[in-house]
């Protein structure tokens, strides 16, 4: 079946079964491989994308439920790695293996959109992605740093960049 998806500001038509998880439509049909498969059961967050601005685990969202929505993936955050969250991530050298980091960054961006100056407790409840390498120490610092960068130039946000 054909479904119209709007991803990173571009409208695509994908021909998949309605129950196909959005994750696989993104990765295998649209070649947007920045979004990762970690568990397939909504647990790990490696597949986190934004659907209408909210963080969603794309492995657990069927394509048919994403029709008409505005979807943003890591590739849509900035064309060149200059989103404040990406800048903060580079400054603090956050990633280790990096496999979880697309999802982690998307979760952090969503948190900062809801809560521009998050406390440590906000971060704990707002970012629930798994990182096996254990980068949490730097993730926390980088979220605070990104919050500072964003308050310095408040016009920058994922949705604006598109």
């Amino acid at each position: 079946m054909a479904f119209a998806l709007t991803v990173n500001g571009v409208r695509y038509v994908v021909d998949v079964e309605p129950e196909t998880p959005l994750l696989w439509a993104l990765r295998d049909t649209l070649d947007l491989t920045g979004t990762k498969y970690g568990c397939g059961i909504g647990q790990c967050g490696a597949c986190t994308v934004h659907v209408n601005g909210r963080p969603v685990r794309s492995c657990s969202l069927p394509v048919k439920a994403a029709v008409g929505a505005t979807i943003t993936t890591i590739e849509g955050l900035s064309p060149d790695g200059t989103h404040p969250v990406q800048l903060a991530w580079k400054e603090l050298d956050v990633p280790q293996c990096g496999y979880c980091q697309s999802g982690m960054i998307m979760a952090a961006v969503a948190l900062l959109q809801r809560t521009p100056a998050p406390t440590d407790d906000d971060i704990d409840t707002g970012v629930t992605n798994a990182c096996r390498c254990g980068t949490y120490y730097r993730v926390r610092q980088a979220i605070h740093r990104a919050a500072a960068l964003m308050s310095a130039s408040p016009s920058r946000s994922a949705e604006d960049k598109r």
Partner: protein
């Protein structure tokens, strides 16, 4: 878009192809391999300008491409290996980009003679600060791999990326630098000895003339060095790039989603495969019914594959299985879920965690394999004022890397291409060659970054599965990808389950005069003696033995191998002795280490004292809080001067009255030897190990029932999140006078006993069986 597969190819019902049974559609063989070029791909490519040597290409714009034989899996080798080369090359660090070395070229080309000798001698003393590290010459071969090919050692294991490669990476940089100087000398018409190189610029001091690397690189590529064996490399104290904090070169690509992992590789015309092997290791397929799924969307074939030859996978036994091949992975996975498969079970289905644990306990009643003996333990035990006796156990644990096992393979009659994130590309080259029946010279391993590793090929036979399936579908690229469930419960190898029974006789002051330390593990365990031989604590009459239970579970080198189990046993037990003696656990350890004959004893004390000071040891804490301490080093033998890494940790823990445990703060004192290559990467590794230690202590266990693993995904094998990571982590490095054994796994084993020791001080409950979450830790 997914390529449309047409089905004009002939339909085959069954065909036995090299041990694999294919049912489905077949394709004609193609003799040629495809060439895939993805701009962000990290694998080896033929350079557009001539290379200077096998490791270094300098472009006219001064960009330096450094070929790296180790695989980046989060530990920072992509950066550290480049730093070892750039240190000598004297290039502008901001112009460096990485690329993986070629395992194929390594099969076809011999190593340059000047790389084969460690300039510090074949076996330099670990306290010798000259270049070359502590490892000496590499052995020429291991079981399946020759380390005399052009890229020498293309393994990412044994914490060896620095200690085993340093000298030939430095030499590679130095040789290229010398040839750039020769080319510049020719161009400027001055002797090379009057030139200096720094930041990719060569300067003739007398005349002030300069030339850039990019201007002379083409000429340097043509020149030979007349006496490469005379090229000198720097000693540790001369390093200027190494030892500085450098952000990792792969990080920018990892914040944009552009980094290429094997799971992201897309070869034109690829079919997707999802595999399932018999969940009881050593089993096989009895029958399956392709008809049940053949009309499902996108399905092309089912390939039955045999048990991989254990000789290819470090003698670990995996199972035979089936792979559904389809036009997309989701189609393959969905069809595999619907495929009826009956298994031929091996005779292990009666095994479960309970009876395996009893077998380990029984094994400890036998004399075992004695790995250390001093004095007369039983005589001294009989004289003891008091005997302390405890039994501990730890479960199987998976590495649980985030990227599920996968590989893309294309097999033709005379060539294999495989795209894979792999800690041992040379071994994978060998495996692929054996399975596909083509010479190693015709196997092309295209290395990608790995989404976590934590222990070499122990991550299982994904390469073998991919090559077997691709061989059955010759001429067609196949991307084989395990589900998370398959990866964690069938495809991987485990840290062995283990147990210990330790008895000590104490004198009237509470110090041990006798100890009988028995540690048992699955006989497949990797380095079951690590962390035991001998304890750093002085006991005049001591016996240490390993005991084994023979099981079928594939175990291998999970991060830190034997030490997380053994350090949990030893550091818990020492704490129990301190408690029995009524002494402070830090002071008690200090006293026993001071009495010992351990080599680098003063460094142990340095670590212990530093971590005590950092953590505020002895200072008051709120009710329900306590500190726990633990220490370990890693070396082959603690009675000989040996390359080693010493680390001590204090965990500050709180336990609520309801029994909820929190890790509030961690202090780590870590050995920096003569210095690190990239201290920033070391910090990150230690920060990560804090999470690993916490997970080992608190959450994680794989349990066996009916001969198979009971856990298979994040819901039943928890990985801690932000909220559980301590808000405070303090890391300090201390200088010592020896080369380091490693930095990626030496701070992890201390965390679980330190936590458990703190939990005891709060609750009065001594946990001897991990993980903590099994236990009721309420206290009043």
């Amino acid at each position: 878009m997914t390529p449309k597969m047409d089905r004009r190819e002939f339909f085959i019902t069954t065909a036995a192809v090299g041990g694999a049974l294919v049912i489905g559609f077949g394709w004609p063989r193609r003799a040629e391999a495809v060439d895939v070029t993805t701009p962000a791909a990290p694998w080896y490519r033929e350079p557009s300008v001539p290379e200077i040597n096998a490791w270094i290409v300098v472009a006219p714009d001064d960009t330096v491409t450094i070929r790296i034989g180790q695989t980046e899996l989060g530990q920072g080798v992509w950066t550290a290996c480049a730093m070892m080369i750039a240190e000598e090359l004297q290039c502008d660090w901001s112009k460096v980009r990485g690329e993986y070395a070629s395992a194929n070229r390594d099969a076809r080309e011999q190593a340059p003679a000047w790389t084969l000798k460690n300039p510090a001698g074949p076996k330099p003393a670990p306290t010798d600060p000259r270049g070359g590290g502590g490892s000496g010459d590499l052995p020429a071969t291991n079981e399946r791999v020759s380390w005399t090919g052009v890229y020498r050692r293309m393994s990412t294991h044994r914490s060896g990326s620095v200690k085993m490669n340093l000298y030939f990476y430095q030499l590679a940089g130095a040789e290229a630098r010398e040839r750039l100087l020769l080319a510049a000398a020719e161009r400027l018409g001055v002797p090379a000895s009057e030139l200096t190189a720094k930041d990719s610029i060569i300067t003739h001091a007398a005349t002030g003339r300069t030339v850039r690397y990019g201007q002379v690189a083409a000429r340097a590529a043509e020149l030979q060095h007349p006496h490469p064996e005379t090229i000198r490399i720097k000693s540790a104290h001369e390093f200027t790039l190494m030892g500085t904090e450098r952000r990792n070169l792969d990080v920018p690509s990892k914040v944009t989603g552009q980094a290429v992992y094997a799971i992201d590789v897309k070869v034109p015309g690829t079919l997707h495969a999802c595999a399932r092997a018999c969940p009881v290791w050593g089993g096989d397929v009895k029958r399956y019914d392709f008809n049940a799924i053949k009309s499902m969307p996108g399905v092309h074939a089912v390939v039955q594959f045999p048990r991989p030859d254990a000789g290819l996978i470090r003698n670990r036994q995996f199972s035979g299985g089936v792979a559904v091949v389809a036009d997309s992975w989701w189609h393959a996975k969905t069809a595999l879920d619907g495929l009826p498969v009956e298994w031929e079970y091996p005779p292990y289905t009666h095994l479960d965690t309970g009876n395996m644990q009893r077998a380990l306990i029984d094994a400890m009643k036998e004399p075992g394999h004695v790995i250390y003996q001093r004095g007369n333990v039983e005589d001294a035990m009989a004289r003891a004022a008091r005997v302390v006796d405890a039994t501990y156990d730890v479960p199987y644990l998976a590495r649980a890397r985030m990227e599920p096992g996968n590989a893309t393979a294309l097999v033709t009659d005379d060539r294999v291409d495989i795209w894979i994130g792999d800690q041992s590309p040379q071994e994978t080259r060998f495996s692929a060659s054996q399975i596909a029946g083509v010479p190693q010279e015709n196997v092309y391993v295209h290395t990608t970054h790995l989404g976590g590793g934590f222990g070499r090929n122990g991550n299982g036979p994904q390469a073998e599965h991919a090559v077997m399936v691709a061989k059955a579908l010759k001429g067609r690229p196949v991307k084989l990808q395990w589900t998370r469930e398959e990866d964690w419960s069938v495809g991987t190898t485990y840290r062995a389950m283990g147990a210990a029974h330790i008895r000590a006789g104490l004198d009237a002051d509470g110090y041990p005069i006798a100890m009988d330390l028995r540690a048992a593990a699955d006989s497949n365990a990797a380095a079951p003696e690590r962390g035991l031989t001998p304890p750093a604590y002085f006991v005049p009459n001591l016996r240490v033995s390993n005991h084994f239970g023979k099981f079928h579970v594939p175990c291998s080198t999970r991060r830190a191998t034997g030490s997380p189990s053994n350090v949990f046993f030893v550091e818990s037990f020492i704490e129990e002795l301190a408690h029995a003696a009524g002494k402070d656990p830090y002071e008690y350890r200090r006293e026993l280490i001071s009495r010992s004959t351990i080599v680098f004893e003063e460094d142990w004390l340095k670590a212990l004292d530093l971590v005590a000071e950092m953590s505020g040891w002895g200072k008051p804490l709120p009710e329900g809080w306590a500190r726990g301490i633990a220490i370990d080093d890693r070396r082959n033998n603690r009675e000989e001067a040996d390359v080693c890494t010493i680390c001590a940790a204090v965990c500050t823990v709180s336990v609520s009255k309801a029994g909820a445990v929190r890790l509030e703060r961690v202090d780590v004192a870590f050995d920096e030897g003569f210095g690190f290559v990239n201290p920033l990467s070391v910090r990150k590794q230690i920060e990560g190990q804090v999470a690993w230690g916490w997970n080992d202590a608190m959450h994680q266990a794989f349990t066996v029932k009916d001969g198979r693993m009971e856990q298979n995904n994040f819901h039943d094998f928890p990985v801690s999140r932000m909220s559980e990571y301590p808000r405070e982590v303090h890391i300090r490095f201390f200088r010592t006078n020896h080369w380091l054994e490693g930095v990626g796994e030496e701070a992890m084993s201390q965390i679980p006993p330190a936590i458990v020791n703190a939990v005891f001080r709060i609750t009065g409950k001594r946990v001897r069986s991990l993980p903590l979450r099994k236990h009721d830790l309420r206290w009043a």
